[in-house]
């Protein structure tokens, strides 16, 4: 026998077919403990085991799952949802409104690495019937409730502690967590008592961790796996240029640069502006992001309510202007470190930015940190003069982002930036309860962000995956695919 041939694959058909195991690969390992937030390694399992009330697909369409219908009332400060009946957890226990209340309470308490708990402050979540829950909030909910529901899977109160290390992962999803080797491998099998009749089609889903992009590519090509997450953009483009693989782009990552504004040299706003002009966003897009990214000056997604499109291109590549601003700030020849993750993409971005900055008379040097070292420093504002981040918050409602993205928080941010007017503008945006107010307030806030330039975004890039064309009907959510309706075409 030959291992090369054995893993070969067949051609296409269109009708859903039952059976088969979908094999996926990710570059980052699954982190079961991060159930209330996104992790690159969780995309292929999280939404298949742990279901949410509803899921937002790549076009932000709300697809009902455990909730069947919902409504907003009382100046958008109350949210009511009817829950699906006849749903059971993998343990066999029936699903009720109490489970929803429990899940939200854990999230607000900060479990599961919850990242939106700041925005949920003051929320009251109550079971208003066996299969109905009501959320009341001191602030309007119309902007932020959807992504929060999307990030909040319903967990089993009896076993949720097993989530931390993946020893017991119980949800209501179409697949059952069956075998797990931390950091290398995860297998899921079909949930035979799934609430939707006939679903899922697949017998199982396997996830292998392959850290090296080239190796992932080889695995795809050899047919050993059908979907790969975490391929470099170039590799994705290479493989999807043939006809048996599709490029799937969805949601996005926000890339930007933060500055410690409390210290020289970046205590001078001119210098921050200079940097904003110095960065060659197009080069980053072409050479790192495979040309798929947009290069905004603002952190928000373009489809945010009331997006101030006219401000989006405030900063464009203008080295001359940047040089003048550097001189104006008296910072020519200034030396500083730029902290970054020790990962391939941030490294490459750093190389471009460092080159751009030295072209305008600055002298940056890299400070590479592991994610584990980087993040604690980021949350305490100790990353040094400048740093590069990437964040999965791209495309979230601005009202949510000003809390969820550390760099944009009015207080306790990573740049040691504190400005009364900014805090006021941010709070106003959060408190806005209708679209037109949101639009004016977002413009004002955007102007302030651009003026103070304490955080300079330079790229919003869709997340790209390569997928064998035989894999059909995958629902793509921000925090994970669900393979409930997916099947392998023969």
């Amino acid at each position: 026998r030959s291992a090369v041939e054995e893993s070969g694959q067949g051609g296409g058909a269109t009708k859903p077919v039952r059976g088969g195991t979908l094999v996926t690969t990710v570059a980052a390992e699954p982190v079961p403990g991060a159930y209330f937030t996104g992790r690159p390694g969780n995309i292929f399992w999280c939404r298949n085991v742990l279901e949410t009330l509803l899921i937002l697909d790549e076009n932000d369409k709300r697809i009902p799952l455990l909730a069947t219908e919902w409504s907003l009332s009382e100046g958008n400060q109350t949210f009511t949802a009817k829950l699906r009946e006849g749903v059971t957890f993998h343990s066999g226990r029936p699903f009720t409104a109490d489970d929803v209340v429990f899940s939200f309470e854990r999230e607000m308490a900060g479990d599961g690495l919850a990242s939106f708990n700041g925005a949920m402050e003051g929320w009251q979540v109550k079971a208003t019937g066996e299969h109905e829950v009501t959320i009341t909030s001191p602030r309007p909910l119309q902007e932020i409730v959807w992504p929060i529901l999307d990030v909040t899977p319903i967990i089993d109160k009896e076993t949720y502690q097993g989530l931390d290390d993946g020893s017991k992962v119980i949800g209501t999803g179409p697949f059952v967590w069956s075998s797990y080797q931390a950091g290398t491998e995860l297998k899921m099998t079909r949930n035979d008592s799934y609430w939707a009749d006939g679903l899922p089609y697949l017998d199982g889903v396997e996830i292998t961790v392959i850290k090296d992009s080239t190796a992932e590519l080889a695995a795809l090509r050899s047919g050993r796996v059908q979907i790969a997450g975490g391929l470099s953009t170039v590799d994705t483009q290479t493989i999807t240029s043939g006809d048996s693989f599709d490029l799937v782009a969805h949601h996005g990552l926000l890339y930007g640069m933060g500055f410690d504004v409390s210290q020289p040299p970046f205590d001078k706003v001119d210098l921050r502006h200079a940097v904003a002009y110095a960065i060659d966003r197009d080069r980053i897009n072409n050479q790192v992001m495979g040309g798929l990214a947009s290069s905004p000056s603002l952190p928000w997604g373009e489809d945010a309510t009331g997006y101030p499109a006219e401000l989006a291109n405030t900063y464009t590549y203008d080295p001359d202007k940047a040089r003048q601003l550097v001189q104006k700030a008296g910072a020519t020849g200034a030396q500083f470190t730029i902290a970054l993750h020790n990962q391939p993409v941030p490294r490459r971005i750093y190389e471009i930015i460092a080159r751009n900055l030295s072209d305008v008379g600055l002298r940056p040097s890299p400070r590479e940190l592991s994610i584990a070292d980087f993040e604690p420093l980021r949350s305490t504002g100790k990353l040094g003069p400048a740093y590069l981040i990437w964040s999965a918050t791209a495309g979230l409602p601005p009202a949510l982002m000003v809390d969820a993205l550390t760099e944009l928080r009015p207080s306790g941010n990573s740049q040691n930036y504190s400005d009364e007017k900014y805090a006021r503008l941010a709070q106003a945006l959060i408190d806005s309860s209708d679209e037109s107010t949101t639009a004016t307030r977002l413009r004002a806030l955007s102007q302030k962000v651009l003026d103070d330039a304490f955080f300079v975004p330079y790229s919003i890039t869709p997340i790209t995956n390569a997928r064998a064309s035989s894999v059909r009907d995958v629902v793509i959510g921000r925090y994970g695919r669900t393979f409930r309706t997916a099947y392998l075409a023969k």
Binding site: T214, N286, Q287, V288, R348, Y350, E351, R367, E368
Partner: protein
């Protein structure tokens, strides 16, 4: 009284006096000549890199991952930089690293090996310490260093330095033990020459040869260490190129752009080959007289 007519036996003629002459003899063997020639060429390239490539190693362009062309003999990398230029600058980085860290390792290792001269306990302690270092597989030690120092030049330097210590330390100690028992050393002691003088005058010069040979051998290992750590992403920091770091990135474009790996890979191979040949030749010429 009679005077010997002057004759020398064959065996006597083979051992010889001038150290430099013996090293040069190594270069006259085919291996030595090829190795030295190759190394000379590589060093020359590295030294002349700024002249040959005035654009430097970070001359970014729009034309990323382009194939070979007149302007870029091996094409460009993912940021549109000339691969040949980066390879040569990478070679420069590697050579700088090797030519500082390996000698440092040799000197410190030798001193550790000779510590027994000061006190027996110190010498034994040093040997145990070297045993411990020897127990660490190379890259594992390198990773430990990275844990403490973070990635970058200094971690590579320290890794290469530390990993080499046992090689030189043990060699020096073995040499010391042999040399101390040599009759000419005993003769000097009988004459009443001070210990320190005996050491520097009679013992050390005779230990140097195997140390030099080992240093040449270790150069190859050091290249492996640099490249190994770089490949797993714990090497030198961007944008400075090193051969290993280029292999690390180049391996991501193995399919679209094989020349990206081939260029630095070839230079790396030439580098290790040069040192391998050279150490072989030195070994034959200097140690096996």
């Amino acid at each position: 009284m009679t005077t010997d007519t002057e004759t020398t036996s064959g065996a006597a003629r083979r051992e010889s006096g001038g150290a430099v002459r013996r090293y040069l003899a190594a270069l006259r063997t085919p291996r030595g000549a090829i190795g030295a020639g190759l190394l000379g060429l590589l060093v020359l390239l590295a030294v002349l890199a700024p002249v040959l490539f005035p654009g430097g190693y970070d001359d970014q362009g729009d034309n990323a991952l382009a194939g070979a062309s007149g302007a870029h003999w091996m094409g460009t990398d993912e940021l549109g930089r000339d691969i040949v230029a980066r390879t040569i600058f990478g070679l420069r980085t590697d050579l700088t690293l090797l030519l500082t860290a390996v000698p440092a390792s040799a000197v410190i290792g030798t001193l550790m090996g000779l510590a027994g001269v000061i006190s027996r306990w110190l010498g034994a302690g040093m040997q145990r310490l070297l045993d411990v270092i020897l127990g660490f597989p190379g890259i594992v030690l390198g990773m430990s260093v990275v844990l403490v120092l973070g990635t970058g030049w200094s971690a590579l330097f320290v890794s290469i330095l530390v990993i080499g210590l046992p090689l030189f330390g043990r060699q020096a100690r073995a040499g010391l033990q042999v040399e101390q028992e040599r009759e000419y050393v005993l003769a000097a002691r009988v004459l009443g020459v001070r210990r320190r003088t005996v050491l520097t005058r009679h013992v050390l010069p005779n230990i140097v040869d195997p140390i030099v040979v080992n240093a040449a051998v270790y150069m190859v290992v050091a290249v492996f260490i640099e490249a190994g750590l770089s490949i797993v992403g714990l090497g030198i920091q961007p944008p400075i190129p090193s051969l290993g770091a280029m292999l690390n990135t180049g391996a991501r474009y193995l399919e679209v752009h094989p020349a990206y790996v081939m260029g630095p890979g070839l230079v790396l191979l030439l580098l290790t080959l040069a040192f391998t040949l050279l150490s072989n030749a030195l070994n034959k010429a200097v140690l096996r007289r």
